[in-house]
Amino acid sequence: MNADVVIIGAGVVGACCARACAEAGLSVIVVDRGAVASGTTGGGEGNILVSDKEPGPELDLALLSRDLWAQMAGALGDSFELDPKGGLVVAARSETYEHLLRFADEQRSCGVIAETVAAWDLAQLEPRISRDLVGGVFYPQDMQVQPMMAAAHLIEAARATGRATLMTDCTVTGIDRDAAGAISAVRTSQGSISTRHVVNAAGTWGGEIAALAGVELPILPRRGFILVTEPLPPVVHHKVYAADYVANVASDNAGLETSAVIEGTQAGTILIGASRERVGFDKTLDWGVVRRLSRQAIEVFPFLADVQLLRTYGGFRPYCPDHLPVIGPDPRVPGLLHACGHEGAGVGLAAATGHVIAQALTGAPLSIDLAPFAPERFEASHVG
């Protein structure tokens, strides 16, 4: 077997890389030790958000990515429920609201559309929302996608070019390098693949793949649970979340943090997130998390008290110490590129990630400066 590029990981990031590379004319093999979307992609809500990003390189990537998502959905005939529903961030206390308004001001200067919503206008956007909130900000650029379907259909689109192959239940056992240290092959449980390029899109497990290639990447799991309610007629129209969420996303606290993130799905269920804990890869449901998320969600939407919890699911966000993803060529190993460590924003940032990975592989000019995402930035000797 051989290919121009082997992409490790059939999650949403690997899928976007596969499609972009195949469209760019490269021959691609996608390998995954499980099935499509069996890692963190299958454990998320499918957020494509600009609202929770502070000004900086991640916000620039997010803005590019949401436009690319919209294009892909158009090209693929909406096979993955892309919904440009918009996000509504709400505050329950005036200090939080003031902080939110300042944050929105800074975002606006970077190209984010953010509309201030006074307390009395919240009900126009969300008729069932609590009357006790002090106000909010509406972000019309926020979108939602069904992430498992997105990953599956993007890989399907890559395969449809005739240049991409998917190998599931295929575990990478080694990455070979030639005398010059450059990538020469990927060894897998289903045989060796000759290639000059590897894209590490293994998400939370990206550090393990990097280690196989002989380099270090500090990616660790940050657990999250999502509650899923019984299906209802459309009652929550946007992605609605409490302003504390932004602070939690950026926090370095290893303990449990929760903040209500509530949204409806096309299937009628309501998804309630989000929790963050650094507890390794323990999947056991924590009922303390369920209690806290239920309470916080009911504070925003009181009617939820009478709505039934049907199931929960969860996943492990891949986070790096500086909360930024690792994207681009690794100067330490010629031929190795990374596309992982997106924490809770993997779906949202996937489209732009795939886009720039294909650009880097084909030598095309990059749409975005990759320096802030450089893989070697964690090395003690690195001067950033």
């Binding site: 059939a10 099935a35 399907e156 899923v228 056991t284 209690r291 239920s294 009911i298 039934q308 049907l310």
Partner: protein, 468 residues
């Protein structure tokens, strides 16, 4: 309010009743949780059973004992209560329960040193064109309609699928005045003699049950069509008939043998699926039961791989009511010992009961060998036949998920929504596995992991008592 006990027994069928009685008579503080209005479970539901005044370990004697133990507050019996989760807290296990209405106050957390899972099983349906028509129901559904609510599902009923349970359902329907058009059995049990068939079937009930079923069928001249299967249910707004066909040993229909039976209701059942959610939540080791379905692994003491968690009855493999009862006795004795009490069962009595467990288990294995589910049922589904009724997922969407790269039941669920609805895949898991050819235990386990066993209002969860 959070409460506490030595032994929490989940399920008050034959296994749970037996376990509760033994544990309580050994001096344990027992809490017995059950969804039903009164003890008895699926088998003894609505049975007009006068609790026996005499001692013993047959079900009537145990039911009488339970009544007395409940009256004496030795067993905290909680009917109309469902356990939605099981969690470890240090050396103890926590059972989270909810009542059967939506009052938020109804949630409780019961701490226990030992938990006995006796949660039984539910019907295993398989789809065929028309199976979602009103009037088509599972065997268990038909029985609970008749026994529980005294309502006949129809006037002229076809009972179909496989297994001796078909005979039990047919007999129940006949006893309550329905006409049974035919019993359509996809397998070919050897019925050389009634004795042989009785040997097979008594595993599901009291000795003599089968004789009663067969006599009822003979008296009403109900045809028992072996090696036949429904290939389609007919009707517009509700079922008006079924198309049946002769099938080969693998259940593939034999061309030219189709014919129509008129009816206004259909009862179908292809065996049972053990209710394993709570065991799966704690990561208990699973095995494949004699019927090929998932079961929780237990040792001779009915102990699972999870410390403090015991299991009895159908959860350890579909085996029928007598196996459930004797396993429950053993589990109760084990729970007593784990709670530092001398078991109420003497060593010799326990030894006798253990031998019965072994006998009923051998028996169940023979039964499952006679009534397996064969792959040929897949022949009759169409691309638009619904697999998952909750989410209205047709066969085509399940196959599309496989084409998109799904290689296990969980991924099929994520890509097709089959199993994401109200019943959490209880109705469709077997069908998805059959359609996709999934057969490995990891796939079965992935699909049967349900972090929340039954829906619970968010308001109740928000007000959950903090355990302590």
């Amino acid at each position: 309010m959070a409460s506490d006990c030595d032994v929490a027994v989940i399920g008050a069928g034959a296994a749970g009743v037996a376990a509760s009685v033994v544990a309580a008579r050994s001096g344990c503080r027992v809490t017995l949780i059950d969804v039903g209005d009164r003890p008895g479970g699926q088998y003894y539901r609505g049975a007009d059973l006068s609790p026996s005044p005499r001692a013993g370990v047959d079900y009537p004697a145990l039911a009488g004992d339970l009544d007395r133990l409940v009256a004496a507050h030795a067993v905290d019996y909680r009917p109309r209560t469902t356990a939605y989760a099981l969690e470890r807290a240090g050396q103890r296990l926590l059972v989270r329960t909810r009542g059967d209405d939506r009052h938020r106050q109804d949630v409780d957390i019961i701490g226990a040193g030992t938990v006995i899972l006796a949660t039984g099983a539910f019907d295993r349906p398989l789809p065929f064109p028309g199976w979602t028509l009103p009037g088509v129901m599972t065997g268990g559904g038909a029985q609970s309609l008749v026994k529980g609510q005294h309502v006949l599902p129809g006037r002229r009923i076809v009972v179909a699928g496989t297994g001796p349970f078909l005979l039990a359902v047919a007999a129940t329907l006949l006893e309550h005045g329905a006409e049974v058009a035919a019993v359509v059995e996809a397998n070919d049990p050897v019925v050389g003699s009634v004795r042989q068939l009785r040997g097979l079937t008594s595993g599901l009930g009291k000795a003599g049950d089968l004789g009663r079923f067969i006599a009822a069928l003979a008296r009403h001249r109900v045809p028992y069509l072996r090696r036949h299967r429904i290939v389609e249910a007919l009707g517009e707004d509700r079922v008006t008939g079924v198309r049946i066909a002769r099938v080969d040993a693998d259940w593939h229909p034999i061309p030219g043998t189709e014919r129509v039976l008129e009816c206004d209701a259909v009862s179908v059942g292809f065996g049972f699926v053990a209710q394993l959610d709570l065991a799966a939540q704690l990561g208990a080791r699973m095995i494949r039961g004699a019927d090929g379905g998932l079961a929780v692994e237990v040792d001779d003491d009915q102990a699972t791989s999870v410390p403090g968690l015991l299991a009895a009855g159908e959860t350890t493999g579909i085996g029928g009511v007598e196996a459930a009862r004797v396993e429950g006795l053993v589990a109760g004795a084990t729970a007593a010992v784990l709670s530092d009490h001398a078991s109420a069962l003497t060593p010799s009595a326990l030894e006798r009961v253990r031998r019965q467990v072994a006998r009923w288990r051998r028996f169940a294995a023979g039964l499952h060998a006679t009534f397996p589910v064969r792959d040929g049922w897949v022949d009759s589904v169409r691309e638009d036949s619904l697999v998952c009724r909750c989410e209205e997922v047709p066969v085509s969407r399940v196959r599309e998920a496989v084409a998109l790269g799904a290689r296990d039941a969980r991924t099929v669920k994520l890509l097709s929504r089959a199993g994401m609805g109200w019943c959490q895949g209880r109705m469709c898991a077997a069908a998805v596995d059959g359609l996709c050819g999934f057969d490995d235990i990891a796939s079965l386990q992935g699909a049967s992991y349900r972090p929340v066993s039954v829906p619970v209002p968010l308001g109740a969860l928000a007000a959950e008592p903090v355990e302590g």
